[in-house]
């Protein structure tokens, strides 16, 4: 869920940019380390970023009949780890602002914090906690939690910027959570399912390149390839 250009007051926009900056810098260092170790990762990371962008440009039909755009950062965080996703997500958000007019330049910091920092870390954390669960379950929960964490963070950012005159911060938070739940909760479920399909597909043919990229890349028992 992108906060539109100019929607946040200037101080909030600047504040979230300052909060998000260290994560992005850390991500840039991590990417530099990965690329120095394995030069072929340079193009793979670029392709992965472009894939995230293209995925986010698709409209997903949700269960409630509405449609919304997937975030795409959950799967990325599981495959490439959150620091790398912080950088890739930042570039994807910049591209979305410039090429699709989703989000904006002044709200880039706030959007980076919710979509490229909190979402990936929360999703990745749940995915790691479920290390003993079947991979499909872990991926589904990870991707869905990444989406939900993003949605809660964005609502919190909006509530902080526009607290309710009578019921204060909490009232505003519940209000924003309620309004955007219609599209965001079904989206989390649909994107979770999509994430499982994508990771299965990746494992079935991209094993060698994924070695060193965490559990997804481990040579596990060959699961069934993508049915359907």
């Amino acid at each position: 869920m992108h906060i539109a250009e100019g929607f946040l007051p200037p101080l909030h926009a600047a504040g979230w940019t300052v909060v998000a900056a260290p994560f992005v810098v850390h991500g840039a260092r991590e990417v530099r380390r990965v690329v120095t170790e394995r030069p072929d990762a340079r193009l793979l990371l670029g392709a992965a970023g472009a894939f995230t962008f293209v995925l986010s440009a698709l409209k997903l039909p949700s269960v409630t009949g509405s449609s919304s755009h997937p975030t795409g950062t959950g799967v990325g965080a599981i495959v490439f780890r959150p620091p790398v996703m912080a950088l890739l997500g930042t570039v994807v958000l910049l591209f979305q602002a410039l090429l699709l007019a989703h989000g904006g330049l002044t709200t880039l910091g706030a959007n980076v914090f919710s979509m490229a920092v909190v979402g990936p870390w929360a999703g990745y954390g749940c995915y790691r906690l479920l290390a003993r669960a079947p991979l499909g379950v872990a991926v589904f929960v990870g991707v869905a939690v990444a989406d939900l964490a993003t949605y809660v963070t964005t609502s919190l950012q909006l509530a902080l910027a526009f607290p309710d005159p009578t019921s204060g911060l909490l009232g505003a938070l519940l209000r924003f959570l309620g309004i955007f739940a219609v599209t965001q909760v079904p989206l989390a479920v649909v994107e979770g399912i999509l994430g499982v399909l994508l990771v299965r597909a990746l494992r079935s043919w991209a094993g060698p390149e994924l070695a060193g990229f965490g559990r997804v890349g481990e040579p596990g028992p060959r699961e069934e390839t993508v049915d359907a």
Binding site: R42, A50, A101
Partner: protein, 254 residues
Amino acid sequence: MARLAIDDAAWGNRWRQRSTAEKALLALGLLVLAVTSREVVTGAAVLVLAVGCALVGARVPWRTYLRVVLAPLSFVVLGAASVAVTVGARPDGALLALGPVAVTDGTLTTAGQVLARALAATSAMALLATTTPVSDLLTGMRRLRVPEVVVDVAEVMYRFVFLLLDTVATVREAQTARLGYATGPAARRSLGMLGSAVLRQAWTRAQRLDAGLAGRGGSGPLRTLPALRPVSVPFVAVTCTGLVALTAASVVLA
């Protein structure tokens, strides 16, 4: 080849040959003004200037520009509507009240301000997006000393985005022709397959590109020579004068 309307406008407008610095100064200056000013009049002035520069100066197709400005509409309207109401104990002087939900003078003013600010800021951002291609902006970021690895990954991404959009369009057409989106469950299954197919394309194309480059001894960033575009002094002078005048006017008004 897949295309994006904003990208088309960025490559084909009359300001294409202007230096990136000029356009960035104008658009970002207007953007900062739109976001920091509380006066609706300043927002309106930014809107008029941005639309004028884009449509008259750069000759951006008005349909494209309008679509950019209206793209975030659903979010802005939903968000502003949420700002316009207050939930909880009924406040004094409510204009409209329905159970625990009420609309007051104050909340309406805030919602109006937010709407105006978002509209003005979006029009300024659209001016930059529709006049300057992403590759020019990335070259500019390199000059501003953004780390090489970041610009490099972003350049690879820009290359890949259009290849992948092509794949999406082709696969989607084939799926639609086979009634892949006729029902809800079918649509979800089709999207899963579409996602996997595009992911596979991205992956194998990246590998083949890497192998091809490695075979030619390429190992570093794909640098190209940036076009030399001198900064036009009159353009910068007019921009600076306009921005300063607008800032002064909004300060006086406040």
